[in-house]
Assembly symmetry: C2
Homo-oligomer: 714 residues x 2
Amino acid sequence: MIKRLLIILLLNLSLALAHAEDGYRLWLRFDPIEAGLRTRYTQQIKGIHFAGNSAVQQTAKTELLQGLQGMLGKAVGETKNMAEGVLVVGSPQSSELVASLQLPQLKTLGKEGFVLTTTTRQGRRLTVIAANDDAGVLYGVFHFLRLLQTGQDIDKLDLVSAPRLQRRVLNHWDNLDRTVERGYAGFSIWDWHRLPGYLDPRYKDYARANASIGINGTVLTNVNANAMILTPMYLEKVRALADVFRPYGIRVYLTARFSAPVEIGGLKTADPLDPQVQQWWKDKTKEVYQYVPDFGGFLVKANSEGQPGPQNYGRNHADGANMLADAVAPFGGIVMWRAFVYSNETPEDRVKQAYTDFKPLDGKFRPNVLVQVKNGPLDFQPREPFHPLFGAMPQTPLMMEYQLTQEYLGQATHLVYEAPLFKEIQNADTWAKGKGSTVAKVMDGSLEGHTLTGIAGVANIGNDRNWTGHLFGQANWYAFGRLAWDHTLTSSGIATEWIGQTFSTKPAVLATVRNIMLQSHEAMVNYMTPLGLAHIMGYGHHYGPAPWWDKAPRQDWLPVYFHKADNMGLGFNRTATGSNALEQYHPEVRRQWENPATCDERYLLWFHHVGWKQPLRSGRNLWEELCFKYNEGVDSLHGMQSQWAGLQKEIDPDRFAHVQMLLGVQEQEATWWRDACLLYFQTFSKMPIPARYPQPAKTLDYYKSLRFPYAPGN
Amino acid sequence: MIKRLLIILLLNLSLALAHAEDGYRLWLRFDPIEAGLRTRYTQQIKGIHFAGNSAVQQTAKTELLQGLQGMLGKAVGETKNMAEGVLVVGSPQSSELVASLQLPQLKTLGKEGFVLTTTTRQGRRLTVIAANDDAGVLYGVFHFLRLLQTGQDIDKLDLVSAPRLQRRVLNHWDNLDRTVERGYAGFSIWDWHRLPGYLDPRYKDYARANASIGINGTVLTNVNANAMILTPMYLEKVRALADVFRPYGIRVYLTARFSAPVEIGGLKTADPLDPQVQQWWKDKTKEVYQYVPDFGGFLVKANSEGQPGPQNYGRNHADGANMLADAVAPFGGIVMWRAFVYSNETPEDRVKQAYTDFKPLDGKFRPNVLVQVKNGPLDFQPREPFHPLFGAMPQTPLMMEYQLTQEYLGQATHLVYEAPLFKEIQNADTWAKGKGSTVAKVMDGSLEGHTLTGIAGVANIGNDRNWTGHLFGQANWYAFGRLAWDHTLTSSGIATEWIGQTFSTKPAVLATVRNIMLQSHEAMVNYMTPLGLAHIMGYGHHYGPAPWWDKAPRQDWLPVYFHKADNMGLGFNRTATGSNALEQYHPEVRRQWENPATCDERYLLWFHHVGWKQPLRSGRNLWEELCFKYNEGVDSLHGMQSQWAGLQKEIDPDRFAHVQMLLGVQEQEATWWRDACLLYFQTFSKMPIPARYPQPAKTLDYYKSLRFPYAPGN
């Protein structure tokens, strides 16, 4: 009785004394779990046998002990014996006990996979977390903790998991002055100025969070690169970060500015075929590896948006990539060479240019080069068809690049769960080797038998206390990691995991929050760029609607270039009668999309200039459908708002208010998008907004007059 | 017994479950206090009678109830009766009970002062927090909580306190893009982009912190001003902040860009004597007050460092200030007009120029104008003599401007407690009306009978989790507020309060941390700019030593201009044979400083060019003294490090490590300062660094080669 009283009091007090729910802990909360479950788990985990003592396994052990203590409310003791109810953790090399279990599942797991299994040895029931190597042990521990956090049954575990992609990497577009390009969560978390002497505790927490979802690499610097990162003063700082990340299985990568040999090397050229240049990169790379022995390699944006590259010297992308690949190869490094290129001069349809440049280079890259391709051919729009390079370069491993930071997806204030966007791309069929040649199979190497594989997510992380600015931005970081590990996971399943770890495992909370998340991407597409529209955001900062914008140094930065509205209709003709970007897709794909009648209406205006009065599948004509979709987007948001409002009693007040306020901002901005876009497109369609929809509150001139010179992330 | 056990367990658990000690809570921690004290306080505060229901009093009540619950471990109940042991809080207007007490102390307290007293009525012992108005109640509550936090006896309270200065204001040099000029604690806490829809919980916590130390105003925007803050889009955002701050007794002020009538008003001129311009400011001010009815007024930097101002139109500072003063006067607003001016052309000694411009204007300003004067005549150096305008403008109220952010004081990484710097200035005697005419008496209006008074602190606050980047930066914010309230408080006393609230009230901890704090300013002066040296920091960013720097658009931004080292000696001759800046001080001050033999050696090189072999009071010649001082500075730092190391068991590991790492960086930088400066000055003195001191580790060329293009705050 007194014991029960104590526990109740303890729990109450812990709530009273807890700090504000500021979101800092992400999905790694490990608070006391519900009493019934706690009792069960406590009986199932009576002690821990954990023999490994490498840095990574020590990390795993600490995480396991702390996580269990947090959730179970008391420390679980360590044991050397194989007693009943012991949790055995380790690899055959690090643990005699694990070795003695002779688990057959280990054979196919590689270095990072793990087994969670319940077994009986000498009549004693054991729970086992086993792997072939340190990293697998770490990932197994985090997965086991996740099972407990989400209230899963651990009585008869029989789970085998290994990553489908090798390099699971965040790309930070973080500058040395701590600004973050397209960052909406404050300053960069890399406090370069105070490194290496001051190690922000955040660095470790960043590493923990990544390790818990299987991310094993981080590119610290912006793809619009600064050569100074390769100077000794900064390499000292990079080393300090790498030292913090290493025990969490995370490797550091850097962006290489192609002109670095000139800028910091004192050479007259950066020509990749110049022997002095090649030697400079070899020497520089060797120096980098002296600071960071497990350095991952270089990420390069070259000859794109003003960045220097091999084309400055009449060379091609393979020449540039291979030079760097040769420099890192002796140390086991890789080069991630971005395919996001578009020429400064060529008037060709911008979405065609990456394919034009890279397709002919297939087979010309060194084996330690990954070509990093954005999900779509334009630039991280709310919706794009898959990038035509997927399936077009069979001899080259392609690395997917997703953008977690919401540059075009509502930026700092919109709740948009991105997993459905990622899944839509991964599930798309390239038809490269017949039906079923999905983008996922290109990405994971299975389609062409590549062994070097990877995926990149442009980070949405900043120094905001909750890491991502919007609390639900955390879900995108989480989903990226989980999908990078296993792209067969579902959007819904990942959401369920994240909600359970972040908010609550109560079925009603799970269902409501998941419902909000799963509809959020489609809602955003509808109120911003329905029916295949793209890139009609504000010029430069990409905040808010500006489909009317027609002043820029180049055509293909202009909304009017992308939507091509005129008195006849709306949309970009990319069929054979237009830019013929469609020719870059395999015939089966092309055939479906080249005919407006069979084209997926989600991509309709991406590929076709459609007449305003053209009837669509709904029976509504294009103008009516546009009105319908914009209103549908805003309506979805009202639904999301009221669903969230219903959670007031289930979510702590801090996080509840945070999300509620942001949904309010999102609702205002969605309305602004709808009204501004419809008023503008109406100047071409010359038809009224049907009376059943709310009419715009302001004039088109008002929306056109708005200016946001200090929109973040620009 | 069970009760004791419970309490022990509760306390242990609260520790175990508490989040990392990230410094977010500042000095407002309100954790459970030591058991003996808790018992005593619990007996002394048996209930609370708090009748006020204004927004400010509601704030005070919430703070009181939460603070007591936190410290005492249980809620204190409210009561309507005047029972034994009741804590009575309120003003005579808001509380019949307080009115009935007829406290004579209230007469002299004004609106913001308060009484804390123990009294007996009808045989019942009462503790009373009383004030004439809401703000006083709030300040009284926070002071009462502070007494408990620091373990003071509250048995026989008899305390009366009222602020000596009216406007106690933070100046945020925060830009609309969230960068902070001279900020070393991350991004601006004002998330303009997401305002007004999203209210960061930090806004309220900022207001709490300020209210707890009596700060009653905040200038939200940079003195290098942006006119956009005065447009409706931003005024909506300003209103949202003002609404959060108001219940904490805090008024919002803005910086006014002098050319706003041209930039956002469409006028052709900003001439302050132009009736259209005057009308524009009147209309704009009226508009501002529609958004923020208790708007405090404008802060202006004009005709300084490229900012526009009245001199662009052939007018003077009084013309400019009075125009704005007339605009805000109908609403009770004030104008804070900065005296930090130096001409773009005049080759006059820069430290003389504010006096030259402003002294002739004495008596010409409207009564609602405060002229805001930096503590010294140059620019927030580690040490400067007091500004000669103090005591030189008897008919004008002068507002002191201190810089809390450590632009020249080690920036992001140095532990420097600034109260001794502030006190040194305040205690300086201007001799304006004979002996005892201290700067403090100018500031508080008592010397000349001014009733409008104020003080400004350039904020050191950013979005770093601990607010100030360096945990000890919090002490400077705290000390500013406490000294703004009562400039007679001592540096040591304020440190004791802050340490007690922030770390521990254990005597050994108090003594050690206080010792570190009290020596830190002198240490920094010694390792950076001893003996009256100034402004020899890196060009532009002001990070690190660069006494050799000799390239800038203007002479008086150059270290070589300020130290004037040559083969003869070192220092700036400001006597009658030099720039004669000394003539701006009253004769008694001048006489002391114009003779090197009587001049305070702390200011020696500020006023004199001294020969390298000139013996100083220590018996050492100038070169030897310079070597001595630089080494003394570094030695002090070693002492501070070892003292901090001794606190490992007394301070939580998070905060202990934070400070320890930063002291490590500071030690490296102090050594760098010493070695770089001595090597450089040695090229003039031609004498060796005495062998008893450590010799520089690198060459002068090495130090001169260092570049820091991404030093923060620039």
